[in-house]
Amino acid sequence: MLYREAGDFKTSYASDNQTFPIRFDRYAYWVVMAVAFLVLPMVMNDYWANSIVVPFMIYVIAALGLNILIGYTGLLSLGTAAFMAVGAYATFKLTTAFPAMPIYLVFLLSGLVTSAVGVLFGLPSLKIKGFYLAVATLAAQFFLIWLFTRYGWFFNYSSTGQISMPERSMFGVTITGATASSTAVYFTCLIFTVAMAWLARNLTRGQMGRTWMAIRDMDIAAEIIGVNPLIAKLSSFAVSSFFVGVAGALMFGVYLGAVEAGEAFGINKSFLVLFMVIIGGLGSILGSFLGAAFLVVLPVLLKILLVDNLGWPADLARHLEIMIIGALIIVVLIAEPHGMAALWRTVKEKLRLWPFPH
């Protein structure tokens, strides 16, 4: 019904290798882009932009980063939130030290700083894997947060240890700070999300992504066919941390505005991003989007439905929300252990064959 495959033939290598091999998906992609860039900014109010769409996009970037590490390279990490904190604190230090630096450049440089830190903490992955690596990255989580709350240099010796984002603008438009318009914030996040998703998609289907997947599927076999595990694992850590760092920088810079390492980037946040990746689908770009939507957007929608539309008490709704999200996680994982992206893949297969399933 949705997919009309007749006439969808591939005549060249390029067309066979494209990101969206099915014509309908290509159209859908352009429609989504048009809606995101042209329609949504027109129709969306501030509340939707600032408290639903912006955090969703930031978590998408973080989930993409973690997905590269876990889903594509098979390296388990529990230090995501700490790497986000690195991005946030790098943004703070860079922008307070060089106020004239364009803020987008600051976000990208923060990603690079996080990359370097990620490689450092990725070194143990050369020796250990699986749950043991998870424990090593857990050390990163605790060590980095301790560092950011302990040493005054990181928060410019403010008396409370909080870092606050100063107001920064680009091309005369205020991007960060309280006076930034929701449209500016939305477009900043959108540009970064689209660019990062594009980068992730193209990295993972290129040579680099294939070496990562070779390591994931069987590292010894990969080594025998000529994949250098040192380069593959560390590049995965570097790219993953870059994504996570940019997510942290955006979370601090344009979304929260003031951050405290222990509260905003605690172990809970590491788990949250990990669950996004697992529920969304390991090794899938779409999965990162679905997982972030499930764990960031759905709770807010439930709150709007229960509290604002049905008028239930806020605490009851919050408890119900925890139960509903918990139950849905179990339902999704029973229905499809490989995540929501795999669920969608099955649905798509069925739709493509419909109405002649045999």
């Binding site: 129709v43 109010n45 501030d46 509340y47 939707w48 600032n50 408290s51 955090p55 709350t149 008396s159 409370t160 240890g161 909080q162 606050s164 100063p166 107001e167 700070g177 309280a178 006076t179 979304y255 929260l256 505005g257 003031a258 951050v259 405290e260 222990g262 509260e263 905003a264 605690g266 939507a293 499930f294 957007v297 759905l298 807010v300 929608l301 709150k303 709007i304 439905l305 509290v307 604002d308 539309n309 008490p313 806020a314 605490d315 709704a317 919050r318 408890h319 925890i322 969608w344 649905v347």
Partner: protein, 429 residues
């Protein structure tokens, strides 16, 4: 796919529901009745809501206009706090009281840009007492630096006006909240000649054995605690375990609720804490709350917190908000006040003993005035002590004044730094 349809539907319904222009005063409540800090959040929320309900039921609102309450659950989480703020800021909120220092730091720039008064009573950013730099933020009647100073003044009075050579430990929640008193205590340590030892406890603070081992090693004369939530009860339990003299263990007002001492049982007997308002149910206002709120079945929550220490604080916060709204109505000359008029009312708030008696809260609070320069009130506090046999807090001192000269200097310096960082020209609105 189903999810997106659902989202689209919701978007359509909520997008269409435009805020109604009604004749009422909107007092949003950013509560936390869930999460690890709920034991502190619930009594405060109950006290706040019950007092507003009382005003609605007994007086028909403020100046004839009913108070409209809306509740948003923050779970003491900054991201949820921001989400809550975004959801109410278009709905004419008159006053925000988030009961969280972390959320306060998020909200200070936002409320300043949007023009919504923020009242952080006994928490938040201390230097916000400098009203010229923080025109939209208020932290009367007392702040953390007052708390630190009052605690030291109390200890001075206990030790013949000298703390020379004494050793005092600050056991603090390792967050913006807990780190807040450090500059004041360091400065007081230098001027009074005592040694200050800083011992942080990471949130939420269920595990403190290493900290208390360190306290045993340090052998301090006094321990001052800046804790919240589960951290308080754990610390008091650990102190009881090492037989630390309880009357040498002083908590800030957020570490002085029933929930903190009851779990420790007899071991907590004699524990002292600061408070900037009276304790217990022996105030005439509680009779009205019984008649107009509880007996009508309108009590907030389970109704089992009435009269507890943090409930009293929630009630006090609501009382100050109502009084500020009343002042604002008088100044504006009409009942339907805006947020800007509410801010003006808060800036001209004057709490006198006569007014407190009229409100059924005689001697509940120290009288204080707010003005454009000083958003921090008077800064006096009392000491309360826990009696484990009768399960009550009792006040053991009269009002102790904080060292406002020193605090003023520190706050001016901090506010000036904030003003330069954020390009603010201090001045009265």
């Amino acid at each position: 796919m189903k999810m997106t349809t659902f989202a689209a539907l919701l978007a359509a319904t909520t997008g269409l529901a435009a805020p109604a222009v009604a004749q009422d005063l909107h007092f949003p409540m950013l509560n936390y009745r869930t999460g690890p800090f709920a034991p502190g959040g619930i009594p405060f929320a109950d006290g706040y809501q019950d007092y507003l309900t009382l005003i609605n039921e007994r007086d028909g609102g403020i100046g004839g206009l009913p108070i409209r309450m809306s509740e948003c659950e923050t779970a003491y989480n900054t991201e949820r706090g921001v989400e809550c703020y975004e959801s109410i800021r278009g709905d004419n909120p008159l006053i925000l009281q988030p009961l969280s220092t972390g959320i306060t730091y998020q909200l200070i720039p936002r409320v300043t840009a949007d023009g919504v008064p923020l009242h952080t009573m006994g928490y938040g950013r201390t230097s916000a007492m400098e009203g010229e730099t923080f025109p939209w933020v208020f932290n009367y009647p007392a702040n953390y630096w007052d708390g630190a100073s009052v605690a030291i003044n109390y200890l001075l009075s206990q030790n013949g006006d000298s703390l020379d050579g004494k050793k005092i430990v600050l056991l603090y929640h390792n967050s913006a909240y807990g780190r807040e008193p450090i500059p004041t205590l360091e400065s007081l340590a230098a001027s009074n000649g005592f040694e200050l030892v800083l011992i942080p406890v990471d949130s939420p603070g269920q595990e403190q054995s290493s900290q208390w081992l360190q306290i045993r090693r340090e052998r301090p004369d006094y321990v001052i605690m800046w804790g919240w939530g589960v951290m308080n009860a754990v610390a008091i339990q650990e102190a009881a375990n090492i037989r630390f003299p309880m009357d040498h263990f002083i908590g800030i007002w957020w570490s002085g609720s029933e929930n903190d001492v009851v779990p420790v049982g007899a071991g907590a007997d004699g524990y002292t804490a600061l408070t900037f308002h009276g304790v217990g149910r022996d105030y005439p206002v509680y009779d009205d709350i019984q008649t107009y709120v509880v007996d009508r079945g309108m009590a907030a929550g389970n109704g089992d917190q009435i009269g507890s220490a943090v409930y009293s604080r929630g009630l006090y916060a609501a009382m100050l908000a109502v009084e500020a709204a009343r002042t604002a109505q008088e100044l504006a000359g009409h009942a339907q006040i805006t947020a800007a008029e509410m801010r003006n009312g808060m800036e001209h708030l004057s709490i006198t003993e006569e007014r407190l008696t009229e409100l059924g809260l005689p001697n509940f609070s120290a009288p204080f005035d707010v003005n454009c320069q000083n958003h921090g009130g008077g800064g006096a506090a009392m000491m309360q002590q826990w009696d484990a046999d009768t399960q009550t807090w009792s006040l053991i001192t009269d009002w102790i004044q904080s060292d406002r000269t020193l605090i003023g200097e520190l706050a001016t310096a901090d506010a000036a730094a904030y003003a330069t960082e954020n390009n603010i020209t201090p001045g009265c609105l």
